[in-house]
C-alpha cells in the first residue's frame, strides 16, 4: 500500500500461498503436484489442476479434470434448483407478509 498508484493487477493476483493453508492431520488431503496447494476434496484438486496448470497436467490428470468438470456441472444444476426454490420462498414469503401486515 505504500506505492504511489493502485495500478491494476490482473485477475488472480492474490494467489493462495502455502502459509495460508492449515491442513488438519486427520483429514483426507489432496495435493496438487505442480504447486503447494492442498485440497480437502478430490474434485477441488482436479479442477484446480486443470484450471491453474493446463499446460502441465498429464493424461490421467486431464481425464480427472474432465470428470471433475462434469461432476461440478451436475452439482451446480442441483444447487440452482435449491437456490431457485429459496428465491421463490423468499419472494412469496415477503409478498404474503406485506399483504397481511403492510399498508
Amino acid at each position: 500500500m505504500t506505492d504511489d498508484t493502485d495500478e491494476q493487477r490482473p485477475v488472480g493476483a492474490d494467489p493462495v500461498t502455502a502459509a495460508e493453508l492449515s491442513v488438519p492431520a486427520d483429514e483426507p488431503q489432496y495435493d496438487c503436484a505442480y504447486c503447494d496447494r492442498v485440497f480437502a476434496r478430490e474434485r477441488h484438486r482436479d479442477l484446480h489442476r486443470g484450471q491453474a496448470h493446463p499446460d502441465r497436467v498429464g493424461e490421467s490428470a486431464a481425464a480427472a479434470y474432465r470428470g471433475a468438470v462434469e461432476s461440478e456441472r451436475e452439482s451446480l444444476v442441483r444447487y440452482r434448483y435449491v437456490a431457485l426454490g429459496a428465491l421463490v420462498v423468499l419472494y412469496f414469503g415477503f409478498l404474503v407478509a406485506f399483504a397481511v401486515v403492510g399498508v
Binding site: 495500478e7 491494476q8 488438519p24 477441488h44 407478509a97 403492510g102
Partner: protein, 462 residues
C-alpha cells in the same frame, strides 16, 4: 443531525435547512446514518428490516446463478480508456486543497471575533462537513481517489524534509483503524460539528500529526497509517476511475475491491471494519436504546465518556467478531484448508461498498442542500452574505438514501462473488464459501436500517 429527532427524512432536513438554525443542526453529526430513511414507514419495523436483509440474501442467490467463470473474469478485468490528467490539473487540485484548508483554519480559529460563530455561516464547518466530508469523500468512491491529489496535509508535508525511517511492519494499518474510530468518537462526544473553533483546532491537530508522520516515515505514512488518506484510498477501490502510472483509467465500479492482496492481515481487515462501523456508531448513539443503556450505565457511576468509549470498542469488537466468525464458517462450508484469517482477509474488501453506500445515503441530501451555502461563504469567509443560499432538494430525494444503502450492499455481494471465484477452483465451493460473509452483510444491513428508522435524538450526556 442527531438533533433533528426521529427518523429524519431528507425532506425534513431540507425543510430544516431553509432556516439558518436548521443548517447548523444539519451539520451536526454529519458522520452518521440517520437521515437516510423515509420519514414514516407504512409497514412494521421488523418487516422493513427483514425486507432489507431479504434483498441482500436474494441478491446473493441471484449472483450465484452467474456461474460463467469467463464472464465474471471479463467484468472484473474490463478496463476503459486512459484519461491522461495533466500536471496542471494535479497542481490545481493541490492548490485548491491547500487554499480550502487555509480558509477553514483561519475562519475556524477566528470564529466569534473576525468570522461568524454560527456554524452555518462559518467557512470552517462548511468546508469540512460539506466540502470535504460531503463532496471530496463522496468523490473518492463515485469518481476515484481524488483526495490523494487534494489532500492539503500531503501537499504541505511534501515540501518538508523527511527522515524516511522504515515504517514498522508490526504497526501496519492499526494507526489508520484507530484513527478512524478516534475521529468518529471525537465527532460524537464533542460539539465539533457545531463549533468552528474546536473543529479548526482538531483539523490543525490532525495536520500536525500527519506532517510529523511524514517527517519520520515519509510516503509510507500516507500509504499505510494516515486515517483519511487510507479512507480515501480504500473508497477509491470502489470507484470507476483508477490511478495508473500514466493517468486515470476507467473500470467497472467495485472491481478495484476484488484485488484482495492489499488486505494482507488483520490490521487491514480491522481498518475496513472500522470504516463500516464508524457510521453505525455515530447513528447508534442517537437511538433511544443507547439513551436507556447509557442512563443506567452512568447511573452506576461510570463516567459518560467511559460509556461512549466502551460502546466504541465493544461495538467494533462485535462487528469484527462477526466477520472473524464468518471466516471460520467459510472454512467449513467451503470445505477448504484456507485458514479463517486468509478467508476473512479476502472477504473484507466488499464491505467497503457497503460503507460507501451508507456514506452516500447519509450525506448526499445535506451536501446538495448546503453546497451553494458553502460556495458563498467560502469565497467571502470574513463577511458572508446575510441570507445564505441553499438548494431545495425535492421530496422524492429521500428514496436516494435507501437506494444507495441497498446499492452498496448489492455491489458488495457481487464483489464477494468475484473474489470467491478467484479463490476457489470449484464454483459450488465458491458459492458455499460466501454463506458466512453474506450473513454478516445481512446483519450489517439490518442494523443500519434499524438505526435509520428508530426514533433518534441527540447523543445523551455529551
Amino acid at each position: 443531525m442527531a438533533r433533528l429527532g426521529r427518523g429524519v427524512a431528507v425532506a425534513a432536513l431540507v425543510a430544516g435547512a431553509a432556516t439558518p438554525a436548521g443548517v447548523g443542526r444539519v451539520l451536526a453529526h454529519s458522520g452518521g446514518l440517520r437521515g437516510a430513511a423515509p420519514e414514516s414507514l407504512s409497514v412494521p419495523v421488523w418487516l422493513f428490516l427483514a425486507t432489507g436483509g431479504g434483498v441482500i440474501g436474494a441478491s446473493f442467490l441471484l449472483a450465484s446463478f452467474v456461474t460463467d467463470r469467463a464472464f465474471v473474469d471479463r467484468l472484473d478485468a474490463w478496463r476503459g480508456p486512459r484519461l491522461p490528467l495533466g500536471r496542471l490539473a494535479n497542481a490545481a487540485g493541490r492548490l485548491f486543497g491547500v487554499a480550502a484548508l487555509a480558509v477553514a483554519l483561519v475562519s475556524g480559529l477566528l470564529a466569534g471575533s473576525v468570522t461568524p460563530l454560527a456554524p452555518e455561516r462559518n467557512a470552517a464547518t462548511l468546508i469540512v462537513w460539506v466540502g470535504w466530508w460531503g463532496v471530496v469523500v463522496a468523490s473518492t468512491y463515485l469518481v476515484g481517489d481524488t483526495w490523494r491529489t487534494v489532500d492539503p496535509f500531503r501537499t504541505v508535508a511534501s515540501v518538508v524534509p523527511t527522515l524516511d525511517r522504515d515504517y514498522p511492519a508490526s504497526l501496519g494499518a492499526w494507526p489508520a483503524a484507530v484513527g478512524v474510530l478516534g475521529l468518529v468518537f471525537l465527532e460524537v462526544v464533542t460539539p465539533m460539528a457545531d463549533d468552528p473553533q474546536l473543529l479548526a483546532t482538531v483539523v490543525a491537530g490532525y495536520g500536525v500529526v500527519a506532517v510529523a508522520g511524514w517527517v519520520v516515515f515519509g510516503p509510507a505514512w500516507f500509504g499505510t497509517a494516515d486515517p483519511l488518506a487510507r479512507l480515501a484510498a480504500a473508497y477509491g477501490r470502489i470507484a470507476p476511475l483508477t490511478r495508473t502510472a500514466d493517468g486515470w483509467r476507467l473500470r467497472l465500479p467495485g472491481t478495484g475491491a476484488t484485488e484482495t492482496a492489499w488486505v494482507d492481515g488483520r490490521d487491514q481487515a480491522a481498518f475496513v471494519v472500522a470504516v463500516v462501523y464508524a457510521t453505525t456508531y455515530d447513528g447508534f448513539v442517537g437511538t433511544g436504546l443507547w439513551e436507556t443503556v447509557a442512563s443506567s450505565v452512568v447511573g452506576w457511576g461510570v463516567p459518560p465518556l467511559g460509556a461512549y468509549l466502551a460502546l466504541l470498542a465493544g461495538g467494533f469488537g462485535v462487528f469484527y467478531g462477526g466477520l472473524a466468525l464468518s471466516g471460520r464458517l467459510a472454512r467449513r462450508t467451503a470445505a477448504t484448508f484456507l485458514t479463517p484469517t486468509a478467508l476473512v482477509r479476502r472477504f473484507t474488501p466488499p464491505l467497503l461498498a457497503i460503507a460507501a453506500g451508507y456514506h452516500l445515503a447519509h450525506t448526499l441530501g445535506t451536501t446538495l442542500t448546503l453546497l451553494p451555502t458553502t460556495l458563498a461563504v467560502a469565497v467571502s469567509p470574513l463577511s458572508p452574505p446575510a441570507a445564505v443560499p441553499t438548494l431545495v432538494v425535492p421530496g422524492w430525494f429521500g428514496a436516494v438514501g435507501i437506494t444507495s444503502v441497498l446499492g452498496g450492499h448489492l455491489l458488495a455481494v457481487w464483489i464477494a462473488h468475484t473474489i470467491a471465484y478467484d479463490t476457489f477452483p470449484d464454483r459450488l465451493q465458491a458459492v458455499r464459501s460466501q454463506y458466512g460473509v453474506t450473513v454478516v452483510m445481512v446483519a450489517y444491513t439490518m442494523v443500519a436500517l434499524w438505526i435509520v428508522t428508530t426514533p433518534g435524538g441527540a447523543p445523551p450526556f455529551v
